[in-house]
């Protein structure tokens, strides 16, 4: 008997998202600790955030180099001894430097937490920044910089940030060859001294850290030191280039990387959540307008996506793709055609419902488990927001109409307000 595939199974719409509770406390010196306790494995992830971001340093290379050299030697241990301890415990310690902060992350089996926290504390507070480790690191980093510079997608995204924020703007300035000559150990040590004080930390714990986690953290991070009042440099308004289209030729490239975008605001703006829906329709999921049109109908690219990047004092809306070199203009024109369609035509109920359901499913996925919930929470805290942000999103998703979407497109998707960057042919 043939199976009847014509009958679509019943399904349920996701109406609400359950968010894991956050246990909030403070160490003896006031350092805030958020614990999200959940998970079936005895594993713990701890993120320790310091205000050691790239915008606080005189030029781009300094903050990330400081972070990456923490593991390369302390007053008591050599780089190799540190590596041996991390590997023997099957743990991972890594650092990530963003515009406004650096996060030192530890992932390990909970049973190894005391030894690993002691080590993390040691590398953060007592690094010696040995000259030979500095030299090795910089030469490796330079190699990576040079290789990245051969990729059309990197060339395009570097030029994009420079174009929409300005080449001297803290969000627009790019790593350059000369920075490798300008950097020295004194700058690293000064930067570390200023931004890695225990009291400046914010700690986020996720997983099953055990009952004594706060005592453990107090032992290492609870110390009171004399931290002067920090003054962080203010971020000026973006100064985008008057040139709306910029092309960097790369010889023998088989594809062109394109970036189409504009400066925007961050998640405090009342249109930020509405724009998340418009962005999802445009290029924020596999079945988006841009994917359907450029990939599934025209075969111009392997993939195209759009995303809204919030920044502490700004934001950007970016469409990114690598397209077949000879059809670059057609690809760009197709993107703008999709803008115009969203401005002129109402989205069908069917498509809007699909996007709403997809976004609710995506929220359910993102809030599944302690690790990704903690990542979301830390990100919200950076913007002085909390989980109510997502409650607003759920409410908006319930109420948004096709008319809202068209109005938003008319306000924010005017092709002449976008910059076009191309690298390749």
């Amino acid at each position: 008997m043939p199976i009847n595939f014509k009958i679509r199974p019943e399904y349920k719409t996701i109406e609400k998202i359950d968010v894991l509770p956050v246990e909030f406390s403070q160490l003896e010196n006031g350092v805030p600790v958020s614990v999200i306790r959940a998970g079936s494995q005895d594993v713990t992830k701890i993120d320790i955030e310091y205000p050691a971001g790239a915008v606080h340093a005189p030029f781009p290379l300094i903050a990330s180099t400081t972070a990456n050299l923490l593991q390369e030697g302390t007053a008591q241990k050599t780089s190799q001894q540190i590596s041996e301890i991390i590997d023997f415990h099957g743990a991972y310690i890594h650092t990530q430097t963003a515009h406004h902060n650096t996060v030192v992350s530890l992932l390990c089996l909970t049973s190894h937490l005391p030894q690993m926290l002691e080590l993390v504390h040691e590398i953060i507070t007592l690094p010696t920044f040995p000259q030979h480790e500095f030299d090795i690191y910089l030469r490796k980093r330079y190699e990576e910089f040079a290789i990245e510079g051969e990729k059309v997608k990197t060339i395009a995204s570097r030029l994009f940030s420079e174009t929409i924020f300005g080449a001297d703007h803290p969000y627009g300035r790019q790593l350059r060859h000369e920075h490798f000559d300008q950097i020295d150990l004194n700058r690293i040590k000064t930067f570390h001294e200023k931004y890695y004080k225990p009291e400046l930390a914010k700690i986020y714990v996720a997983g099953q850290p055990g009952d004594n986690i706060i005592d453990l953290l107090n032992r290492f991070w609870g110390e009171k030191t004399d931290v002067p009042k920090m003054n962080y440099p203010s971020i000026p308004a973006p100064s985008p280039s008057p040139e709306k289209e910029r092309i960097i030729k790369k010889e023998n490239a088989m594809q062109s990387a394109i970036r189409i975008g504009r400066p925007l605001f961050n998640n405090h703006h009342s249109d930020f959540i509405p724009l998340q829906v418009l962005n999802t329709i445009l290029g924020g999921h596999f079945g988006s307008r841009l994917m359907t049109s450029l990939r599934e109908e025209k075969g111009l690219t392997y993939g195209i996506s759009s995303f809204i990047m919030p920044l502490k004092y700004s934001g950007a809306w970016i469409i990114s793709s690598e397209v077949t070199g000879s059809k670059r203009e057609e690809a760009i024109e197709t993107v703008f055609d999709e803008f115009r369609k969203l401005q002129n035509e109402l989205i069908s109920e069917k498509e809007l419902t699909m996007v709403k359901n997809y976004m609710m499913g995506e929220l359910l996925r993102n809030f599944d488990g302690p690790f990704s919930t903690a990542d979301i929470y830390r990100n919200l805290k950076e913007y002085n927001l909390d989980f109510s942000f997502y409650r607003h999103m759920v409410n908006y998703l319930r109420d948004v109409t096709a008319f809202h979407i068209r109005e938003l497109a008319q306000k924010y998707l005017n092709p002449e307000e976008f910059w076009v960057i191309v690298a390749g042919v």
């Binding site: 595939f5 490796k140 040079a146 023998n252 079945g287 990939r295 995506e362 488990g369």
Partner: protein
């Protein structure tokens, strides 16, 4: 520890279920026993192109993606030399939609000229984006062709050349489907917030009436032992030279797989590993080194690769790697060093069990390899490896005549 229940339908479809009540989601994974090794040498890249066509809709359900997104789900797929794998994650209340979609496209596709034409273009763009338009991107193509002379592992999943993809016809697409896509050539695995009995009921309902198909036994030419060292030198527009060495080793299911895996970890897993400490930190010959094994179902490759620091001669770089490999053939590693790499493997096995999707994929892979009962014994399998096993494995693998070396040099 991953608990699971297993059931086989009359048409041969194997079903594995793992219940995980900590997530509101469920992963539905369909793994087909077909990969790039099953391709015609003149139509390489076909299994992967076919994976793209599996999203082109059927007679009954014109769009695959739309219903997935409509129930809050997300889906994707990958192809390797051995497998083609499709997965969907949905809120567990909507699991039936995933069964409906996967059963429908296992039953029959809506083969269309238009869909084939577009996906040929998309895959060619993928070929360029990932292999041809990236610094060092064509290494998989070059090295497989050097290391294998007979076995279909001699081409990568994306294919040997773009023209093979351009020439694929609709008739070939159809015959590939009926040759490889069948309930008796697949494993359905489900992990997430779901009762096993409910999964078995849904599997019977949606997959139970799909006819089993005649699957020809696999009869691949096996690679003869390599008898002399092979070298290839290419010049490309890249900033730094790179050396890429591969040695033939065994199958994923061979008993010495675990020793091979730990051997590669001693060489390069983590900042304390030998190649990193010696060649990157002490001697400063490389800016990056790596060693890993392929773990294929037919005899695979042990790879050692590194990107050179400026001014280092490639012959010297090669010799420095060989010196490190030879140490392992001459001296057993210390108990401490072996325990260190075992600890890392074992904690990684625990980290892997955090994701319900990972668990679903692993269950399907182990079932298809015929090793599902090993899944929860893996920590013991690694613990059982002795320092002597490491030395014996190194001696067996790291022979010059078993090695193919690629010099990848700047213009």
């Amino acid at each position: 520890m991953i608990n699971f229940e297993k059931h086989t339908l009359k048409n041969g479809l194997r079903i594995i279920v793992h219940q995980d009540r900590t997530t509101p989601m469920v992963a539905v994974n369909v793994l087909y026993d077909v990969g790039a090794r099953d391709e015609d040498p003149n139509r390489t890249g076909f299994a992967h192109l076919f994976e793209h066509l599996m999203f082109g809709g059927t007679k009954n359900i014109p769009s695959y993606d739309e219903p997935v997104q409509h129930v809050g789900g997300e889906n994707n797929a990958w192809t390797s030399n051995d497998y083609t794998n499709y997965y969907v994650t949905v809120p567990s209340v909507n699991i039936e939609t995933a069964f409906w979609l996967e059963a429908d496209r296992m039953y029959e596709l809506d083969f269309s000229e238009k869909s084939l034409e577009v996906q040929r273009k998309v895959v060619i763009e993928e070929f360029k984006q990932r292999y041809l338009n990236q610094p060092y991107g064509d290494i998989p193509i070059l090295i497989r062709d050097l290391a294998y002379k007979v076995h279909p592992y001699r081409w990568p999943t994306i294919g040997k050349e773009i023209s093979h993809i351009e020439q694929a016809t609709l008739d070939e697409v159809k015959s590939f489907f009926f040759k490889h896509y069948a309930p008796n050539n697949a494993v359905l695995s489900v992990a997430g917030n779901i009762e096993p009995d409910e999964v078995f009921r849904l599997a019977e309902k949606w997959f139970g009436d799909i006819p089993s198909r005649a699957i020809a036994p696999r009869n691949l030419p096996q690679e003869p032992p390599q008898t002399e060292p092979r070298y290839l030198e290419v010049k490309r527009n890249v900033p730094a030279p790179l050396i890429h060495m591969v040695f033939h080793n065994g199958r994923r299911t061979d008993p010495d797989f675990y020793a091979n895996d730990l051997l590669s970890d001693i060489l390069s897993n983590g900042p304390s590993s030998r190649l990193f400490q010696s060649l990157v930190k002490d001697q400063r010959i490389f800016s990056e080194v790596n060693a890993y094994i392929s773990g294929d179902r037919d005899p695979g490759l042990f790879t050692v690769t590194g990107r050179l620091m400026p001014g280092v001669e490639i012959k010297k770089a090669e010799q420095s790697i060989r010196t490190e490999l030879n140490k392992l053939t001459q001296t057993v590693p210390s108990d401490y060093e072996l325990q260190k790499v075992k600890n890392k493997v074992i904690s990684n096995l625990v980290f892997d069990e955090i994701s319900f999707l990972n668990k679903a994929i692993n269950l399907a892979l182990y079932e298809l390899m015929g090793a599902i009962d090993e899944l929860n014994r893996e920590p013991d399998n690694y613990q059982a490896v002795s320092p002597r096993d490491i030395k014996e494995t190194a001696t067996k693998i790291f022979r010059p005549e078993n090695c193919s070396t690629l010099y990848y040099l700047p213009l």
